[in-house]
Amino acid sequence: MSTLRAALTTEARKAVTSRVLRWTTGLLLASIVALTSGILAAKELGDPQLTAKLGPIVALDGWPALLAIAAQITAAGVMPALGIGLSWIVGREFADGTITGLFALPVPRWAIALGKLVVYLVWTVVVAITLCAVLLALGLLLGLGGPGPSDWQALTRELSLTILVGLVAMPIAWAATLGRGLLPGIATAIGLLVISQVMAFTGSGAWFPVVTPALWAIDPDAVTLPQLALIPSVPLVFGALTLLAWHRLQLDR
């Protein structure tokens, strides 16, 4: 227990002082707010090209429009951002050479990896809560008034979307470990995003747990309960694979 606490404490300290995580969080929030505001403004101005692409959202106004646009952007944009953060948390020691310092310790490497994954999940929840708070502030700033009950539901879905995407991003941790660095993790994040987009586009994504959160957030009725129930399999399987890879790690390449 004390070794787990040591691993968690040290990983949390590293995350709190990390410039990469601070910048990633800031850029993600700024991008989503800027894009949501921009699309909302263009919709209000009746931009024909944009309204054609917005589909059913074009019929919405006020909070429903803001939150639907934010969900669309979050569904596509949050995976690369969280992927960079996860890849950094797991792969930084490989990249800067300090990985040798994580050997020959009474804290087992699988515990260090577990500390990293827990810190990543906490960061994901912080990003999700901050994003919702920022969207709430944006709506109030735009004079939309207080959100109604259905708007709070949409905001809760936005919160869940970020957290669920954070969970299904877990293969990135495994890739950063196997690839011994940040870039394999970031490449995996881009790969997952591309696969998600293609499967969402072809309408075949609801059974693919990496895509399910986005489809559910955009249209809750389009996803069934068994499909949602598959989501935890991704963090469980790839989280376990990551711990195993750290347990068996050798510095042979």
């Binding site: 040591a6 300090t98 310092g101 050997f103 009474p106």
Partner: protein, 242 residues
């Protein structure tokens, strides 16, 4: 049972032929053991094997008589090491790095600050305690890494080229720290290119060449450099490399 760190017939060869072959080595308590060799001789590979960063293809490594494969994680609390890069995160200050290192080496949250303060004094890091590691010179980052490896008073210390980036003052501080560790019963293994430096601190010198132990040197030998090159050249000739 031999205490300290022991390698018996250890082999690990990489694609291309580099690595170590059938290496026997004993690092005894109370002794500073130096590993010398040319670049690519296998010093770092051997140290990585001794610390579990690599698994041997053949042979066995034991810490205080227990094979590494059967070693409980808690046994590593008695080991300190710096291999290739010091454990110094750029975003953290020198003190934060040392506190982190202390916790990872098994010191409790209550004991860590005193150990960190002592290590800061030992390596003369007082002016840099609140400076982020990324702003430190390579030599001072190395001092942080060495302080992190020493602060929990390990019984076994493994340092790969520890003086390579240190200034002369840092070399003197490290030399004193290693002597104190050894005098307190610590088993110390250091690798180095600097034979004069090795001669000043080592009780025993092992020569590694092309991945094999080819002999030993007498630290008191006034012609240490000549003796080293004689051994390496003789080995290269015998193996058809020269």
């Amino acid at each position: 049972m031999t205490t300290g760190l022991v390698a018996e017939g250890v082999t690990r060869v990489f694609r291309g032929g580099a690595g170590v072959r059938r290496v026997d080595l004993v690092v005894r308590p109370g002794e500073i053991h130096a590993l010398v060799g040319l670049n690519g001789a296998g010093k770092t590979t051997l140290m990585k094997l001794l610390l579990g960063m690599l698994r041997p293809a053949a042979g066995e490594i034991r810490l205080d008589g227990i094979p590494l494969a059967a070693l409980p994680a808690s046994a590593w609390a008695g080991v300190g090491q710096v291999i290739e890069h010091p454990l110094a995160y750029g975003d953290l200050t020198a003190r934060q790095n040392l506190l982190l290192g202390a916790r990872l080496h098994g010191l409790s949250a209550s004991r860590a600050p005193a150990a960190v303060d002592a290590a800061i004094r030992e390596l003369a890091l007082e002016p840099y305690t609140e400076v982020r590691a990324r702003r430190l010179s390579a030599g001072n980052r190395q001092r942080v890494g060495l302080a992190s490896a020493l602060q929990h008073r390990p019984r076994v210390l493994v340092l790969d080229e520890p003086t390579s980036t240190l200034d002369p003052a840092g070399v003197l501080l490290l030399r004193d720290a290693l002597r104190r560790s050894s005098a307190a019963g610590g088993a110390v293994l250091v690798s180095s290119h600097h034979l004069d430096e090795v001669a000043r601190i080592a009780d025993r010198i092992t020569v590694l060449n092309a991945g094999r132990v080819i002999g030993t040197l007498d630290p008191g030998d006034s012609e240490l450099e000549r003796a080293f090159f004689d051994q390496v050249l003789a080995d290269d000739r015998a193996e058809g490399r020269a």
